[in-house]
Symmetry: C2
Subunit: 334 residues, 2 copies
């Protein structure tokens, strides 16, 4: 009897592509019970959650417009939150979730290590979590793992760490169209640069990952050097049924370096483009001993959905507060 | 003022090569204060700890024969324990340490995940830890990280895990002579096989690593297939100033596969030989998505010493009990 644990009761908050994939994944896990789903899209409200998520079976649960509506119908332990990247828009959702007495695992990139650039939101979420006695975690593949948690964990093997470099190369041709749109595929250089200027172009998370690494080693970040450049087609290319003309954008090349005490301590490169060669992640730690790590297979939405769903049990078991992946025992496929 | 933490007071227990290297490492860390060292070797007792460890400066602390002697002279928080690989001989030391009110980080390979093969020792250590309100951890590069914690942490990115394979290749020519002796360098095939038969040959830890992986995924291990084979010199070879003749042993090739529910779920290969090519660690996870990871630079005693010293602060902060690396937040270079 002692071995029979009740499943963890989960509410899915956000029924976009990642939320729907998370629903499909959770339906295969005995330890998790999906009890409700929330989305503001009128096209989804009222429809069966499994149908919206394109899952195999009907659940008999309709997508509801608010968390309060969901909690009128069911009790729950934790929310899997996948509605946006930025804390200015999602903080009210996160504090609402915590205030209703639920733990939360969120895909919000800025939540992965929010203190460096978003201390006021971090404080608000921390307060709400402690007041409710609940836990909040922001995680994902990147930020959340490849450029922060994993390099940090590898330094367990180092007596000294002088510099950390991480490079992520993604072949965008193998990713879904919204991802391609996000990295500017098909734009002119001018359109791309206008997006960069308005802050709407570029991968979200490099700031958070580098801040976690620097601060973990006791280094304060003096300055940050960031660049976001378009990758341009050298010849006409096919993508998703349409042609990208020579000279148009096929992706983004983004770098961020954090300077601590006068030297570049962390540098991250994010390169995502159609037909990028050598799709892989590379981590180099200059130190004693020097380490080099190459990973293959981490790309795509599968890994993002996996780490969100896999984190649920660690978050439910964690002490109250706003946590990062650095604070929790290793998340793994339960 | 709130930021000024007192250093953690550490006793080094065991002044062999790893213990001495740990002493040198700890002397460079502001967060750690080495307050005593213990060893049973009459050649070391009474001598200055720093001199025995070949550290640059004198400490004014003599090596003492017992932990009780050390605690008559000083208070401490934690013991770094590096006296042996096997729980049958070190369990009394570990329960003594815990009974004296100290946390302990140990290099004992069998402690890294002791429940599968050594439940009675694990229970005794767990009881002693809980009774004292203190924490015990067994860690190291392997076991402790490369074949257990790291593959487990990588499965965070997986929706499904079908099989895990880890291979570690070490060029023994770059390791110290005691390591070469341990893997049989210079022996005849017959001598090597006699050592295998008597249980004195082979890397300790594959059982522990595979057990941690299998049990983390809820799989019980039906059976284990293990082989320990000599690697033989194809021609006369130079090593450490002496010649190894053609046909003599230059290293070990060891494999262990754990079968769960009729299929091989985990397989580990440990290959350590003079002039082994492609020194590296390889992790393959068959699953959704499939992952492949190659690491370079993890070999040598530096990494072993690093993970032991780096683990100290996590262990001091941990809840009481016998813990494994799976239970603690990621160890990193503090």
């Amino acid at each position: 009897m002692a071995n029979i644990r009740k499943p963890i009761r989960v509410i899915q908050y956000g029924m976009g592509p990642i939320g729907c994939a998370a629903v499909r994944a959770m339906l295969t896990r005995k330890q998790l019970e999906l009890v409700a789903a929330v989305d503001i899209d009128p096209q989804k409200i009222g429809r069966d959650v499994a149908e919206v998520a394109a899952a195999q079976r009907r659940l008999g649960i309709a997508v509801l417009p608010t968390l309060a509506d969901a909690l009128k119908q069911t009790s729950a332990d934790v929310v899997l939150h996948t509605t946006g990247s930025f804390l200015d828009s999602v903080t009210p959702q996160l504090t609402e979730i915590l205030g209703m007495g639920l733990d939360v695992v969120s895909s919000t990139e800025e939540l992965s290590y929010p203190w460096a650039d978003h201390a006021q939101y971090a404080d608000a979420i921390q307060r709400a979590a402690l007041q409710a006695g609940k836990t909040a975690l922001g995680t994902g593949v990147n930020p959340g793992f490849l450029m922060d948690t994993l390099p940090l964990a590898l330094t367990a093997l180092c007596l000294e760490v002088e510099r950390i470099s991480v490079a992520r190369v993604i072949d965008a041709a193998r990713r879904r169209l919204p991802f391609q749109a996000k990295i500017g595929v098909g734009m002119t250089r001018e359109q791309f640069e206008a997006e960069v200027s308005s802050g709407r172009m570029g991968h979200v998370g490099l700031r958070e990952s580098t801040a976690m690494l620097c601060e973990s080693f006791g280094h304060s970040v003096d300055s940050v050097r960031e660049s976001i450049e378009p990758v341009l087609a050298e010849a006409d290319m096919q993508s998703g049924g349409t042609t990208v003309s020579r000279g148009r954008v096929i992706g983004v090349h983004q770098t961020l370096a954090a300077v601590c005490a006068g030297t570049e301590f962390v540098s991250c490169t994010f390169h995502a483009a159609l037909e990028a060669v050598d799709e892989a992640d590379h981590i180099e730690i200059a130190g004693q001993p020097p380490l080099r790590i190459d990973l293959h297979g981490t790309n795509g939405d599968i890994a993002t959905v996996a780490i969100l769903v896999n984190a649920i049990e660690r978050v439910v078991a964690a002490a109250p507060g706003l946590k990062t992946m650095r604070d929790l025992p290793p998340v793994f496929r339960w």
